[in-house]
Amino acid sequence: MSLTRRTLLAASGAGAVAVGGAACGSGGAMDPSVPLDIDVADADLSGSIALLTPDFVGDDRAVLDDDVIAPFAKRTGVDVSVDQVDWNKLNEKISTGIAGGIIADVIMTGVGWTQPFAEKGIFAEIPADFIEGLGYDESVLVSTRYDGRYYSLPQALDLRFIGFHPELLEKRGIDSPPESLDELAQAAEELTGDGVVGLDFLSGSAGSARQAFVFLLYAFGGTMFSDDGMAPRLHEEPGRLALQWMLDCMDTGAIDYSIQAAEGQPSPFQQKTAAMSLVSTGNWPTWQTMTPDLCEKGAVGTFLLPSGVDADPVMFQGGTFISISSLSKNKDAAAAFMKHMLDPDILGKASAATGKVPPTPDIPETDGIRSNLLMTFGLDNLPYAGATEGGSAAYMEVRGNLDGIVETCLTGRATVDQTLADMKKLCDGAISRI
């Protein structure tokens, strides 16, 4: 048989369609309609499930394997395999997993992730009566809902506020924490000099430029999106004030965009080259390992980010949320594992390892938790944890690009007006595709 050009084209076309069909077919396999049964008895569970988590890295992995998974596997006979991925690769991991038809049964994500993945039908709905029975504070449940239904539960909170070196403040005659953003800017300027930057707001030790902006946005009374998530709000006046505040501080040298902590090296705050810094509760294990002197009582002071509009101070709420994949073939076991992860005893063990704050204070108190000054401060101020990312089903489309837009402004490559317009355009485009 001779191979003519037409035959060749037909064959390659057919091959392409077959490959395309296979590629697109993964979407058709999902069945989000199967409801989640949260009360299946242990004896009725079997098989295996996969857990996708960005937490429990390094030495913490042993805690996950030995103290979290092993008791569950022993009790139920369900085998749990763990797929670990960096936070900044988690989104891609989920999307490539879906494209390849291999998605974990239990997925741990962050604040702001629930609505987008729920809207796309990736997360299974969690029964409201189960969640309401846990007695969690409303402030930690806001990010778990989409369209009035629950699709995730907080497993650990990473709360952010300002840390300071008391002796550096005393040296400059500052004897009390600032009570407004103006005062904070003033104090940061006074603390700057002699190789010390007043406020480390952008080095990445406590998040990204995007998160720093969002934190300030809330401090100036703004939000990222409207209540229904269908209109951007971050480009409005509070957003302008937030960007301008950072730029003004950079003008005086009080915030230095270029100071960065090298990978695996202590942050500028740990090295005392920053007098004040955004810190997160998750920093504690790092401090214990690298700069234990900071963990002694009185070594570091903390205060909430003051308001820019004469209102309550705010705390940034990041964290790890746990969801069940709607594609899971073993939803009963996945739901049982989620319940297990939220058991106060397990939460306490996980919290001691990761340094993150459990979503409920009802955990057994241990020496490790009691001595964690950042966690204690975070728990004491939980009602102020109102600054959160997300709030729209379009957020995952916005998230990555927002970093670049904020950085473009902070590096002088775009004006505040251009930046706000870019933010609005980005959000409008993403929302229009919902």
Binding site: L3, L8, A11, S12, G13, G15, A16, V17, V19, G20, A23, C24, S26, G27, G28, M30, N88, N91, E92, S95, T96, I98, A99, K120, G121, I122, S258, I259, Q260, A261, A262, E263, Q265, M396, E397, R399, G400, N401, D403, G404, E407, T408, L410, T411, R413, A430, R433
Partner: protein
């Protein structure tokens, strides 16, 4: 005996078809067998090209006309993705970065590769060691290369580059976190990594340059520079064209280096096309748009290959 028949045009008689002589039959049979062997030998490469290159290109073109978010089935959207690309400033900024990396990095690395190849083509002591040292970055996994350069560029005083700068009294520089320095820092890595293969190709090409031409030039009193520009460079034109085209293509395929070194930042100052496509597909879930971007990238590469052929003046023999 042979029969004849009149031809249509002339009315003259033409020799009638006769059974081929045994010798001709044998020759045809050999030719048919050769064709079969040729097709058989070419089949693996042809199949590979059709399945792994041809089919994905067709799929990409088809998907580029759809709105597809991985989760839901693709929906035909006409030219919407292409219209989006033309208003996507970040995509064109990424193209610009590729162009800058190519415009700065490729000429420098080609020049250095040619210099090294010319030097190491001579009987120098230890030239084998030098050849291996220069070629080593090419065969090292890009991920490993990126990790090494992350350490070299480390913003603290423990980074090699800043240690060296510190010796001459310069404060540590944020090579990868300052938008004004980041792209230049990335270009330096691409140059360092790219010299080895280019040098190897030039070395092979230099082996083919006839020594008698240099001897004739020596007799004419030509100096080293004259010989280099009048003999070596023209004789290496096919190799130069090959290196230029492959470098351009691989430059526009750069992904892993950016993914590990900078993730396109800061302030999108190092975003390149492939990284932007990756972001669009796997961070923003806009697979249809990402495919349209890939089609544009394919067109850019075809145009660049054509242009470089014209600029370097490649011949059919290249």
């Amino acid at each position: 005996m042979t029969t004849t028949a009149p031809t249509a045009s002339t009315g003259r008689t033409a020799p009638a078809a006769s059974p081929p002589a045994p010798e001709t039959r044998r020759r045809r049979s050999v030719r048919t067998a050769e064709k079969r062997w040729g097709l058989l030998l070419a089949a693996p490469a042809t199949l590979h090209t059709l399945i792994w290159i041809g089919a994905p290109i067709v799929v990409a073109i088809v998907l580029s006309f759809t709105a597809y978010d991985i989760i839901h089935a693709p929906e035909f959207s006409g030219l919407e993705n292409y219209a989006t690309i033309f208003t996507d400033g970040l995509f064109w900024l990424s193209v610009l970065h590729n162009v800058i990396i190519a415009a700065v990095g490729i000429p420098i690395s080609m020049f250095l590769a040619l210099v090294f190849a010319t030097m190491l083509n001579r009987a120098l002591p230890g030239r084998g060691v030098f050849r291996v040292m220069i070629f080593l970055p090419h065969i090292t996994a890009t991920v490993a290369v990126a990790m090494i350069w992350l350490w070299i560029y480390s913003p603290s005083q423990s980074g090699l580059m800043n240690v060296v700068l510190g010796l001459v009294g310069i404060k540590p520089l944020p090579f990868l976190t300052n938008p004004d320095l980041a792209l230049g820092s990335v270009i330096l890595v691409t140059i360092w990594q790219g010299i080895g293969l280019k040098m190897l190709i030039y070395l092979a090409a230099l082996q083919g340059v006839d020594e008698q031409m240099y001897e004739a030039a020596d007799l004419d009193g030509a100096n080293f520079v004259q010989k280099f520009f009048r003999i070596t460079v023209p004789m290496l034109k096919p190799a130069t064209f090959f290196i230029l085209v492959t470098s351009l293509i691989s430059n526009f395929q750069t992904f892993d280096l950016i993914y590990i070194l900078t993730e396109g930042g800061p302030a999108n100052s190092t975003s390149v096309v492939t990284y932007r496509i990756y972001q669009t597909a796997f961070q923003e879930f806009r697979v249809g748009l990402a495919n349209a971007q890939s089609v544009i990238l394919l067109l850019i590469l075809v145009v660049l290959a054509f242009l470089s052929r014209r600029i370097v003046g490649g011949t059919d023999d290249d």
